[in-house]
Every structure is written in structure tokens, then in C-alpha cells.
């Protein structure tokens, strides 16, 4: 059995051409994660460039309106570049530099990871190329231009379903073509080991801060932490430092699209089955012959047929609970948070907000929920308008 297992999940299912590279990556990561200079440089970037720690904001109006548990928002949307993606990217690009790489490549769905990677590459002076599905290039035109402004080259991926899964395929293909000087900045807690571990470690700053902040403000732990899950990086970051606190419920919100009983969703836990894809064993939406299903979500960032292996194991062991949230519920929550708290969050994060709208009223007033607000919603305004039948481009 190979390295990097979470229960039965994880592993290193990738072509031989990449094996030495990921072995080398793990070796370097194991060294630098304990290297005082690396830690100091990364912490400096997180504080002075990304703007950490992010706020833990008490959503008073939302709490009063829902009339149940007290709701806090972990404001990853306030980070530089507007999402949690920057946490991982600063770590990985800095690591790539230390490894002597001069070029980084990355996949992106909503464009948030692409923008974050392009940003870190500009700052740290490495070449950057981003792979993005044609469907997402259309949905997220603003982010494509942002990446180009930052000096990255954006490749439009026209294979398969032309979304996040296909962008990942293409980035892996590019990596096998040019592996010597290039690091693949994988954007989520997925792919072959050591990526799920590296991305989780870099994202765990979210729960490290949130745990300290809530103990400081409230003097006790929350009853639940809630986050949206595509590949699962913000959720893993939000869950990680609470895993040992057995009283804290961990809830991941999966993209249910038009509903999990239709064929238009991307709910890998609710509807997926065990499979091996993109370097890992985990749950995937697939057919009886193991063909990966064309999935769907209104949210480009959650539009992925699988889920990271550590989440799959948290599900198997019942430590975390995964719930489906539909497009419609997410759009309603997007609008609700804007009107109630004056915060336009990412449509991805709105999946978590929607679930909290359901559970908060059923909980006691002395209970606490923390929502990971993984990103800001500027990028989604046009598509939400379109969802409501309004064309704002006219």
C-alpha cells in the first residue's frame, strides 16, 4: 500500500512519469515545513500580504433573524484576492521556489485558485500558466482577465465537459510534458499524495485562527462548523483543528445543482461511489463502468465529480456530515446574506450559508455555528443576475 492514506482513501495513482516528482515534492515539503526560515517567510506573507488573520465576524442580524444558534462568519472573503485559495498558493509557490522551480501551472474552476496562483507567481517572480475549462472561461470572464493582468497565461480547455475536472486533466498532462522546472500548484485537498496533505496543512490556518478566536470571544467551542465542499479545501481548512474536538459537528455542503435526484448535480458523497481518479481513491460521481460523470453546479468552484480523500474518510468514520444544497437554495442564501449582513459572498460559500439557514433555527440560543465564508461574490454577480433573468450586460 502506498503512502498518503486516509482510511482506504488517498494514494498515488498517477503515471510513472510523475512519480519521482511527487516523491521529491514530499521530501522537500517534509523538510521545509519544519524549516524556520520557510515558516517565517510564509507567515510574513500570510500576515502582511494576504491580510491574515481573517476576521471572525459575529453575524448579529442573521442570528436574530434565524432566532436560534449564534452565527459567526470566518471571513476568508476578506483575504487578498478574495478567497481562501491564497493560503495554499502562497505556501506552494514559496515551496516551489525553494525547490528551484521557475514555473508554476494550475487548474481553476471559478477562477479563484487561478487568480490566487497568478498573484503569488507575480509576487514571487515565477512564470505562471493556468488551465481553465471553456465553460468556466465563459462563466467567469472577469477572473480570466484578472489572471492575464497578473501576467499569467490562461489556456482554455476544450476537452470533455470543459469544466474543472477537464482543467485538472489538462494540467496533469502539461505537468508530464514539462516536469523538470515546473510545479503543479494543485488547488484543493485532492490529487495524489502529498497534495491532499500539503493543501490541508496550508489551509488549516483557517481553523487554527477560528478556534482561537471563538475561544477568545465566547470562551467555548462552537457546536458546528459549516463549509462548502467541492474538492474540499476550505472545508478541510475549516475542519482540521476541530477534528479532535468531538463536540464540534463538522458539516460539509455539497453542490446538489438541480437536486440530487436529477442528473444535474456534483454531490460526490450523496450520490458518488468509491473510485480511483485524479491520483486518489475516493468518492466520485461515475457510471457503472467507471466512466466519470459529467457533473453540474451553478458554482464553477464546486463543479467537480469527486471529493478529497480525507473528506471521504471523515465521512466513512462519521466524524463529518455531508449535506446536499441545491442551486436554488444557494442563490437564495447569496441574496439573503447580502441583504441581511451586507456581505456579497461567493456562490460556493452561499451553499454553506443556505444550510445554516436550515439548521440554526432548530438549535439553542447558547449554541454557536461558524460558517467558513470561503470567498467574496463579485465574480458571481453577473451569473446570479442571469439566474434571476436579468441581463446586466445590456
Amino acid at each position: 500500500m502506498s503512502r498518503g492514506r486516509y482510511g482506504i482513501h488517498g494514494g498515488q495513482y498517477i503515471p510513472e512519469t510523475l512519480m519521482n516528482e511527487i516523491i521529491n515534492l514530499e521530501k522537500n515539503y517534509d523538510f521545509y515545513k519544519n524549516d524556520p526560515t520557510f515558516i517565517k517567510e510564509l507567515n510574513d506573507l500570510l500576515k502582511n500580504y494576504a491580510g491574515r488573520p481573517s476576521l471572525l465576524y459575529y453575524a448579529k442580524k442573521m442570528t436574530e433573524d434565524l432566532n436560534g444558534a449564534k452565527i459567526y462568519l470566518k471571513r476568508e472573503d476578506l483575504n487578498h484576492t478574495g478567497s481562501h485559495k491564497i493560503n495554499n498558493v502562497l505556501g506552494q509557490v514559496l515551496l516551489a521556489k525553494k525547490m528551484g522551480k521557475t514555473r508554476v501551472i494550475a487548474e481553476t474552476g471559478a477562477g479563484q485558485h487561478g487568480v490566487a496562483t497568478a498573484t503569488a507567481a507575480a509576487l514571487l517572480n515565477v512564470e505562471c500558466e493556468i488551465f481553465m475549462g471553456k465553460e468556466d472561461v465563459k462563466r467567469q470572464a472577469l477572473n480570466v482577465y484578472r489572471m492575464e493582468l497578473l501576467g499569467a497565461k490562461v489556456h482554455t480547455v476544450t476537452s470533455g465537459t470543459m469544466t474543472l475536472k477537464d482543467a485538472v486533466n489538462e494540467t496533469f498532462r502539461e505537468w508530464t510534458t514539462r516536469v523538470q522546472d515546473t510545479h503543479y500548484v494543485l488547488g484543493s485537498v485532492m490529487g495524489p499524495h502529498p497534495f491532499p496533505m500539503i493543501v490541508r496543512d496550508f489551509q488549516s490556518v483557517i481553523s487554527k485562527e477560528a478556534r482561537e478566536q471563538i475561544l477568545d470571544i465566547e470562551g467555548k467551542l462552537p457546536s458546528a462548523v459549516v463549509a462548502c465542499v467541492g474538492g474540499g479545501s476550505n472545508a478541510m481548512g475549516m475542519f482540521y483543528n476541530f477534528i479532535k474536538d468531538k463536540s464540534v459537528k463538522l458539516i460539509g455542503c455539497e453542490p446538489a445543482g438541480h437536486g440530487i435526484n436529477t442528473d444535474k448535480h456534483a454531490a460526490a458523497i450523496a450520490k458518488g461511489t468509491l473510485g480511483i481518479f485524479h491520483g486518489m481513491k475516493s468518492y466520485f460521481c461515475q457510471n457503472e463502468y467507471g466512466q466519470i460523470a459529467p457533473v453540474y453546479s451553478i458554482s464553477a468552484g464546486l463543479d467537480y465529480p469527486g471529493i478529497g480523500p480525507e473528506h471521504a474518510n471523515l465521512h466513512d468514520t462519521n466524524r463529518a456530515q455531508y449535506v446536499p444544497v441545491t442551486d436554488n437554495e444557494a442563490v437564495n442564501a447569496f441574496e439573503y446574506l447580502a441583504k441581511t449582513e451586507g456581505i456579497i459572498c461567493a456562490i460556493e460559500s452561499a451553499h454553506a450559508v443556505a444550510h445554516v439557514q436550515k439548521i440554526a433555527p432548530t438549535m439553542d440560543k447558547d449554541e454557536i455555528i461558524i460558517i467558513c465564508l470561503s470567498g467574496r461574490g463579485d465574480k458571481d454577480v453577473a451569473s446570479i443576475a442571469q439566474y434571476r433573468g436579468i441581463n446586466i450586460n445590456e
Binding site: 498515488q12 510534458t177 485524479h278 467507471g290
Partner: protein
């Protein structure tokens, strides 16, 4: 010892690849028989996968065509069963791990054994993950073919020493597809492989011309050609049979 050894008894081996079900499962059987008639020593049949991450654009498109035509693993098994009444040529599958895993390792390799499949290449199952299905495959007389890449370096010894059937040496970085030039120092890779194993060594990825075939067969036991054949199928569709015959015949003769 599997039938695969027979492929290397007729001079340098010519190994031809195509994707099952492109453009239809019936045509695949016909095309394979054309390849055999032209002297192909071993056939690699691709079981199409929705997301073939080791493939270049030519074979990616073939996967799309095959899946769109309704090709399934079961239909491919039936085709091989029928093929086995007509030829004894060694046949291996090439596919990704998920279609095999999802079918169930026991079922999959049991069927392979029943219909007469001799080996399987799984590009996303590296040495470290072989325990997934190595023993089940072996119990069903199916060789799991090991791949060695230009980046394998210190890994070559361990991979080669444990190899069965033949060793698939990847000629270049990147994905499958025709290349005008192969720049890898194949000589030194093949030397390391040979010093660790007596299993035949075939080279693939990028080979499409007579010149490349001649040159690479000088230093290896065989050559693997995929994209060039799939390209012929893409161009000629149902009528590709005679073109495949001519092409594979010229390649086999070049390396005799």
C-alpha cells in the same frame, strides 16, 4: 509463461494499439484482424475512459468517439471472445484503473482469463499501487505490464526487476501522440532496464515513421505504435481497414 513471449519470437516485435469501439465495436474487430494479417505481433486494445490523462489529443478523441458510440467493457469482452476464435495473437488491454476497479477486480480479471486476454497496461497505476490488483491478475494469468519513463531514474531497477510480460518504456515526457523527433537518451534507459530484467522491452509514445521504427527497434525488442493507427481510423472511419493493413505492414517490415 504467458502468450506474450510469442510476440517477441518473430524478430523485433511490432505492437499496434487502437481504441475499442472507435468507430464501432464491429469495426474494431475487423481492424485488429487486418493488423494481425499485416504481421502485428501483439495487439493493445484501449478500453475507452472518460478522462484519459496520459493521452494526447488523437487518442483522447478516439475515447470520445468510442464512448459516444456506446462502447462498454462488457461489449469489449464479447468482441475479444469472438476475436479469439479467429486469432491467437497476444492481446493486452490498455485502460485506466477506475474502469477496472469499478468493474470489480475479481470479475474483470476472471473475464480477461475466460476470453483470452494476456496482459494489461494501466498508466495510472504506478509500481507503488500495484497491490491494487497484481495478485488477482496473476491468478487469472494476466500480466500487469510495467511502464518506465524518462524520469524514472533510480526507480528503473525495482520496476524492471519485478516486471512480467514485457516492459513498456515511455520514449518521451508528456502524453501519447506522434512526435517528429524523440530526444530522450533511450540507450542509457534501455541499458539500465536490460541489466535488471530479462523481460522483453518495447518502446512507445511518439513513434510513427518508418525511420523511427528502424532506429528504435535496433536498441529495443519491439516498438509500440498507437496514435498513428488511431489517426488513420479518425481519417478513414469505417473504411480504415485497408489503410491500417498497409501502414502496419510497412512498419513491421521496417523492423524485421
Amino acid at each position: 509463461m504467458s502468450k506474450i513471449q510469442n510476440a517477441f519470437k518473430n524478430g523485433k516485435a511490432f505492437i499496434g494499439f487502437l481504441t475499442a469501439g472507435d468507430p464501432s465495436i464491429e469495426k474494431t474487430e475487423e481492424f485488429i484482424l487486418e493488423m494481425v494479417k499485416a504481421g502485428t505481433d501483439l495487439i493493445e486494445i484501449g478500453i475507452p475512459f472518460s478522462d484519459p490523462i496520459a493521452e494526447g489529443s488523437v487518442i483522447q478523441s478516439a475515447n470520445v468517439r468510442a464512448l459516444s458510440a456506446g462502447t462498454t467493457t462488457d461489449k469489449i469482452f464479447s468482441m475479444v471472445k469472438s476475436l479469439r476464435t479467429k486469432t491467437n495473437v497476444p492481446i493486452v488491454f490498455l485502460t485506466y484503473l477506475n474502469p477496472v476497479f469499478k468493474y470489480g477486480y475479481e470479475n474483470f480479471f476472471n473475464y480477461c482469463n475466460q476470453v483470452g486476454i494476456d496482459g494489461i497496461i494501466i498508466p495510472d497505476m504506478p509500481f507503488e499501487e500495484k497491490s491494487e490488483c497484481y495478485i488477482i491478475a496473476q491468478n487469472n494469468n494476466v500480466d500487469i505490464i510495467s511502464m518506465i519513463a524518462p524520469t524514472s531514474e533510480q526507480r528503473i531497477k525495482e520496476i524492471a526487476a519485478n516486471a512480467v510480460g514485457y516492459i513498456y518504456v515511455v520514449s518521451s515526457l508528456g502524453v501519447t501522440g506522434m512526435r517528429s523527433e524523440i530526444k530522450t537518451d533511450l540507450n542509457s534507459i534501455l541499458k539500465s532496464v536490460k541489466s535488471a530484467s530479462s523481460v522483453p522491452v518495447a518502446v512507445g509514445f511518439g513513434i510513427n515513421t518508418i525511420e523511427q521504427a528502424k532506429e528504435i527497434s535496433k536498441i529495443s525488442d519491439g516498438i509500440i505504435v498507437g496514435s498513428a493507427i488511431v489517426k488513420i481510423i479518425e481519417k478513414h472511419g469505417n473504411q480504415a481497414g485497408k489503410y491500417i493493413y498497409e501502414y502496419t505492414k510497412s512498419m513491421k517490415q521496417a523492423i524485421l
